[in-house]
């Protein structure tokens, strides 16, 4: 009997300890500047609103927006239950975790609390025996998005990094052919969607709080400065004034030889089938077949042609434009077949990039160059700046001309419905440094047009028509 009672006592003592541990796991203390609160905890998640209130932030739920808004001084954060995406000081960020609804409003992990809420507000968490102490000074650097733009002039190059928010930055030489741009209290995120072409800037790489700029041999940093409206860092690059160490060996820069090619881009490919007709005809097959025919027609007329894909492969949209930029193409023509919910819609249309949708980085670079056009004193004349500005406009004007030439041929030789020339910020046209268009040859969602597009004879006629439009543009 006594042994049984002793055993029961031991079991109960163990249960008591376990329950006590569970109690501790159901709440956690937060301390901030002499004040302390106990915050409910659900497994790994804690109530967020009491902690935000503790540090003096105003947190409100907006029923109409479906989001929580957190305001502290100049910091504004918006996040919502069940969503990983959030708006932090004007920047859309992936929080890597979706907060959940809780009795107190909203709960999330301690990692979310510190990384996504407290850090942008300028705080960090320090662990103490019964919980955490909130300290001033963020542990995680607030990210800043960077958009690069490069312009080569006679003997110098201007590199402009446009920042998503105002951030102190410092530029310094690291070694021959390499400079670093360091951002104070911010992690730079490079926007790779705007490819650039430069003889002197080889690559940009972000590492922790810096961006490393690799330069062509013999090129160095001449000057740099920061500007606002929009916030940006501009660097003047040119012949290195002194070479402290020999420039490292680099892969030779590929300079295209022979006549400039026309780059034809068969839309979609691989897993991305694009649109599909009711009879199972896939856009990726139509565009590839059409691109091959177009290439043969153009080559027969003496043009050099490159395809962005010559098989059923996936190709990133930015890689397609990058190929054309690298080859310094004469023109870039992306081929597509359309689809729409209304099956009655038919006809061909041609797109080019719209000037008001040109990348912010380009706009910032142009603005920067305009701002300083009258004060250039580093060997680059104001005329260079104006010419560069005009060159950007010229590419768009030429794209419009190419689009018009192709669309006119489609209208006159195919006799389908003219859907005209339009402008839109298509990914595959972004960053192209040559006349670039996207041709929608017809609607696969329209059964009679889909049947026509499937016929080899019609594809050949389309290829010859588009080729004639390209040639009209080249020979204008």
């Amino acid at each position: 009997m006594r042994r049984k009672l002793t055993l029961l006592l031991i079991v109960m003592a163990a249960a008591g300890n376990w329950i006590a541990a569970q109690d501790l796991d159901r709440s956690v203390e937060f301390h901030f500047e002499g004040r302390a609160i106990v915050v409910p905890k659900f497994g790994p998640k804690v109530e967020l609103l009491p902690v935000l209130e503790l540090v003096g932030a105003e947190a409100k739920y907006s029923l109409s927006a479906g989001t929580y808004g957190v305001v502290l001084g100049e910091h504004v954060i918006q996040f919502s239950v069940g969503h990983k995406v959030m708006l932090v000081n004007g920047n859309l960020q992936d929080a890597r975790e979706a907060p959940v609804a809780s009795p107190g409003g909203v709960a999330a992990s301690l990692s979310f609390l510190e990384r996504s809420l407290l850090s942008p507000l300028g705080f960090r968490l320090e662990q103490i025996p019964l919980g955490y102490r909130v300290e001033r000074g963020a542990r995680f650097a607030d990210p800043v998005s960077i958009r690069p733009a490069v312009a080569d002039f006679g003997v110098t190059t201007t590199l402009v990094l446009t920042l998503s928010r105002s951030t102190p930055a410092a530029v310094a030489d690291i070694e021959a052919g390499k400079i670093s741009v360091r951002f104070e209290g911010a992690t730079p995120h490079l926007d790779g969607s705007t490819p650039f072409r430069s003889r002197r800037v080889l690559s940009l790489t972000s590492r922790e709080q810096t961006i490393e700029v690799s330069l062509a041999p013999g090129i160095g940093l001449l000057s740099w400065h920061t500007l606002e409206g929009p916030p940006r860092v501009t660097m003047e690059l040119g012949p290195a004034r002194a070479t402290p160490t020999p420039a490292p060996q680099r892969a030779p820069v590929v300079i295209p030889s022979g006549p400039r090619p026309i780059v034809i881009d068969p839309g979609h490919g691989g897993d991305d089938i694009g649109a599909e007709s009711g009879s199972g005809l896939m856009e990726k097959e139509i565009t590839l077949s059409l691109a091959r025919r177009l290439a043969r027609v153009l080559e027969a007329r003496g043009y050099r042609v490159r395809l962005t894909r010559d098989g059923d492969q996936s190709r990133a949209l930015t890689d397609r434009t990058a190929l054309a930029n690298r080859l310094e193409a004469l023109a870039f023509v992306s081929l597509h077949a359309n689809a729409f919910t209304a099956s009655s819609v038919s006809g061909a249309e041609t797109y080019y990039m719209s000037i008001d949708e040109a990348s912010d980085a380009d706009a910032a670079a142009m603005a920067d160059l305009e701002n300083r056009a009258g004060t250039a004193s580093d060997g680059r004349s104001p005329l260079d700046l104006i010419l560069w500005d005009l060159a950007q406009v010229e590419v768009l004007n030429e794209s419009a001309q190419l689009a018009l030439s192709v669309q006119q041929r489609l209208n006159s030789q195919l006799g389908g419905r003219d859907r005209g020339v339009r402008q839109a910020p298509f990914v595959v046209l972004t960053g192209a440094t040559m006349p670039a268009i996207l041709v929608e040859v017809g609607f696969l969602s329209n059964s009679s047009e889909a049947d026509r597009l499937a016929q080899p004879d019609y594809q050949q006629k389309l290829a010859e028509t588009i080729a004639a439009g390209i040639e009209d543009f080249v020979r204008r």
Binding site: L5, M12, G43, S64, G66, G90, A339, F340, V345, Q423
Partner: protein, 188 residues
Amino acid sequence: MHRRVAFIALAALAGVILLVWLLTAGDPQHVQDDLAPVEALPTPTPAPEQRVVLLFAGGDGLLHPELRSVPLPAEVHERIRVVMTELLSGPKNSQQLAPVIPYPAAVEAIFVDQQGNAFVDLTAPPQPLSGSSTELLLAYGVVDSIILNCPEVTAVQILFGGHEVPTLTGHLDLSKPLVLNKRFIAAS
């Protein structure tokens, strides 16, 4: 001996209480599953009726405006919510028009930053969409309808299922906010 028995009895009683508590307390990991929904704010005073212009898809593959009078709040998030609710409800004056979002969608969340960029999170498409026209009309139907009715908003980025997407059908750049583009609105 009596004290020991009393102690054991007390401990046993405590054990029973703890056991009952343990069985009824539930798993702390699952607390969030049966939580009460987020409490709604008090109903604001009704907003004055105003005319809004909403863009719907026509059989010509272009956007067509429809005017409608609705109570339009002044607060920007609420205003966007009203515009989106009307847009998602579809056209009312014409059987020739269709909603620009070709699947049953809802607005999950709305963010607006201090620069006038609105971020509207829509339900993700249940299956992949295709065609640049589908993409252009969805995007500019939403973007233009919001900008035309919300003066504070200068650009709109559409998110799907809580995610930023580079593009929806492989054409239009949706990775950043889009500005007003009237090129897809049919000439009246």
